[in-house]
Symmetry: C2
Subunit: 231 residues, 2 copies
């Protein structure tokens, strides 16, 4: 369908797994930069980011050859390169749809605004909250969705609506030309090809933890299923 055969290796073809870790490296690096560290080895950076050094080096090698053999990586330079790769040198206007408990928390979340992202709009359907000011921003009515997206140049939408409303809002958002969505509603969104959806689901995370927690309990009380403890 939309999948390219990809015969030639796209110079921008950074593996998805690598992309997902770049923000981690970036965070570790900015922390180091603030503490005045000029240079860092793959070993140290990997530790700070919680991965192993081979993985880190391979990840960075996808961006280019930004290290110096025998020395390490220059912190400031690497911060810039990763920022640029992630598209954080420009800033992105984000709209939050659904200003319930979660939407409110997101609007006020500091780390949100920090790097390259700016909450440019809050939208809700409830007349009770429309017109309120949250985190210094007026809450617009959902009817204004398309107009607000266009007028404020919104390119990323955060869905924090009830589950029942999510698909409907998603359809409108996509129709308005948005192709990046962060979904907090516990539903599987269906979107056309070319639209990127990432989801955050608290309930799912808990269930995964419960699974492992149960396994541990089983092993203790249950049977001597042999120690699989080797790391």
């Amino acid at each position: 369908m939309s999948r390219r055969p990809s015969p030639t290796r796209d110079p921008r073809g950074i593996p998805e797994a690598t992309v997902a870790r770049l923000p981690l490296y970036l965070r570790a690096l900015t922390g180091m930069a603030e503490r005045g560290i000029a240079t860092v080895s793959s070993e140290d950076l990997a530790t700070a980011a919680g991965v192993n050094s081979a993985k880190l080096r391979k990840d960075l090698s996808h961006l280019g050859s930004y290290g110096t053999r025998g020395v390490g990586y220059e912190v400031e330079y690497l911060v810039y390169q990763i920022s640029r790769e992630l598209g954080l040198t420009q800033d992105w206007a984000v709209a939050i749809v659904g200003v319930g408990n979660l939407g409110r928390a997101l609007a006020n979340y500091g780390g949100f605004v920090s790097r390259g992202f700016r909450v440019a709009a809050l939208l809700d359907a409830d007349p009770e909250v429309v017109g309120d000011t949250i985190a210094g921003l007026n809450v617009d009515h959902i009817d204004e969705l398309e107009a607000v997206i266009k007028r404020r140049g919104v390119s990323i939408v955060v869905l924090a609506t009830p589950a029942a409303a999510a698909q409907q809002v998603c359809d409108r958002v996509v129709a308005a030309g948005v192709t990046s969505i962060l979904n907090f509603a516990p539903v599987v969104l269906s979107v056309p090809d070319g639209v990127e959806v990432r989801k955050v689901d608290l309930s799912i995370e808990l269930q995964i933890l419960a699974f492992h927690e149960q396994r541990k309990a089983d092993r203790e009380s249950g049977g001597p299923v042999m120690a699989v403890e080797s790391q």
Copy 2:
């Protein structure tokens, strides 16, 4: 014929990727059960869960042979089997540490409590909020952490503290015997072997979206191929 030379196929050795999808199937299935659907094919269930049918069948095959060839899966039965596998037939006491905007939102989040999970404690360091009632629960002081965990049988802790406090709280939580942590603070937690940490990081998700968004923009303006930009 069915002699399996494989070395002791652990019946509980369910692939991590499969575990991560079971909650998705479960959600789709409970929705169907509520609508009175008795039986479902792998094709239909897969569509509802947003995966393809081969993957779904392989995933379910790890739990056992719960389908009927030529027919499909019995919804109620499968709900039970998946619930049991995930450990949702018992209920889990969850403590939320950090009752800022996010912690508050989590405490009030309905889907949290729904399946097998019960918010059993709220903790914070700020004397301003200690003693408040949120979602029907008293906020205890962080000094009570160990006592509360023990007394209320908490086995899963949700960290919604500021980044600076997260590792410190994490250490205490682990020392108190908790082995499952859901971390919302933007830090890499270091924990001993055997402790399961899952992290949810809004900022990282946005950065990943920004990466893809930028790629799309590049492709439009910069030409279809040959987008090797100057450095």
